[in-house]
């Protein structure tokens, strides 16, 4: 079964681009444009990795973290996506339980490599 990635992002153009990149490199992708949608996908399908945009319209992406951290069983690896990587944002994401912070646009090959690494770790569990 293909590794499942939940993409939480509110811009359709960015969703299209990342979905193409992820699907073409061997992943299954679900996209959510709101936190409510993201929560639904998480409870129904337990994705392996969540790529989480920090600004979703008016919502703060990190508000998803409490429900991620409360997941029973294997928690998804959450990676924050942001346009501006200032130290405060970085610290806030790590404190909330994100694995790391990636600055958009993420280099295609780098994302592919990092995903392989994280998914490998999970498989080793």
């Amino acid at each position: 079964m293909l590794p499942h990635i939940l993409l939480v992002e509110d811009n359709a153009l960015v969703i299209d681009a990342l979905t193409m990149l992820l699907e073409e490199t061997g992943h299954r992708v679900s996209a959510a444009t709101t936190l409510a949608q993201a929560q639904r996908v998480m409870s129904e399908e337990s994705p392996d990795v969540v790529l989480l945009d920090l600004t979703l319209g008016g919502e703060d992406g990190l508000s998803l973290m409490p429900s991620v951290n409360a997941t029973r069983g294997t928690r998804p690896i959450v990676v924050a996506l942001t346009g501006h990587d200032d130290p405060e944002t970085h610290a806030r994401c790590i404190a909330a339980g994100c694995r790391t912070v990636l600055v958009k646009p993420i280099a295609a090959m780098k994302l592919k490599g990092q995903l392989a690494e994280w998914l490998g770790e999970r498989a080793a569990f």
Partner: protein
């Protein structure tokens, strides 16, 4: 003149002054508000510009990296151009955002201990290909035994990057560009590091030395100019230097190259 007359005139003047005072404070409030609005506008627009650019660059990389199938060399070059242009635009948007934050006093320092040599090396590596492309001679000279800095590494690298970027841009192919780090003359508050970024480029006339540090200011602002930038690089560099309690200035004349200097006070980690 009668006493009553004088009192009358004074009262009138006082009333006038009070009225003018009121008007002035209203104006000041309005200006403050306008500055805040401008900052907010710049900040919003840079966020919004970034999003579609992200999509453009990601699609470009999907193509360039052969994820949808291999491209010919020419095709790869062409897509590389799209990505390069997009990244340049992204950098400019980043500068506008940084400036907007600085203007809104939203910038703070995150201090760590590091050697200035490592920051210089990082910035030189980033600019390696540009230097090679213009066949410039870039030299770095760092005095032996300099103390480590306890400062905001990203911001110091940002300052160096902006100054070096300008030195590269405003120097003709075959010219020289250098970075020198040494002990500066100590001030009453202690030791400082003195960093110079110099070039043998087009130089800046003395009457423009103040102008170039102003936001959005460029000596040659004509549409046909060769150099493309936001005019914010030096304003941001100065802001970052001042956040560290240092100074940034230029020594230059037209056609004689430019030497930008900045100081960073040496502090020890707590």
């Amino acid at each position: 003149m009668s006493r009553a007359y004088i009192d009358d005139v004074s009262a009138e003047r006082l009333a006038l002054l009070q009225e003018q005072n009121l008007e002035l404070s209203r104006l000041v409030a309005e200006l403050r508000n306008e500055a805040a609005l401008r900052t907010q506008f710049l900040s919003n627009i840079s966020h919004d510009l970034r999003t579609p650019l992200t999509a453009i660059i990601t699609h470009g990389e999907i193509l360039r990296d052969g994820i949808l199938g291999e491209l010919t060399l020419r095709q790869k070059d062409s897509v590389g151009g799209i990505i390069g242009g997009g990244r340049q635009l992204l950098d400019m948007i980043g500068e506008i955002l940084t400036y907007a934050r600085g203007a809104a006093h939203q910038l703070t320092l995150t201090r760590t201990e590091f050697s200035i040599a490592s920051a210089v090396e990082q910035v030189c590596t980033l600019n390696e290909s540009l230097v090679a492309k213009k066949k410039l001679d870039l030299t770095v000279n760092i005095e032996e035994g300099l103390p480590p800095l306890y400062a905001d590494r990203d911001k110091i690298a940002h300052i160096l990057g902006n100054l070096l970027g300008n030195a590269i841009d405003f120097t003709l192919p075959g010219g020289r560009v250098w970075i020198t780090c040494s002990r500066g003359a100590p001030t009453e508050r202690g030791h400082v590091l003195l960093i110079e970024v110099g070039d043998t480029g087009i130089g800046i006339a003395p009457e423009h030395h103040d102008l170039v540090f102003r936001e959005f200011a460029q000596v040659d602002a004509s549409a046909s100019r060769q150099h493309h930038g936001t005019g914010l690089g030096l304003a941001i560099a100065r802001k970052f230097v001042e956040l560290h309690d240092g100074r940034l200035w230029v020594e230059s004349s037209r056609g004689k190259g430019s030497r930008f200097f900045f100081t960073i006070p040496v502090r020890s980690a707590p």
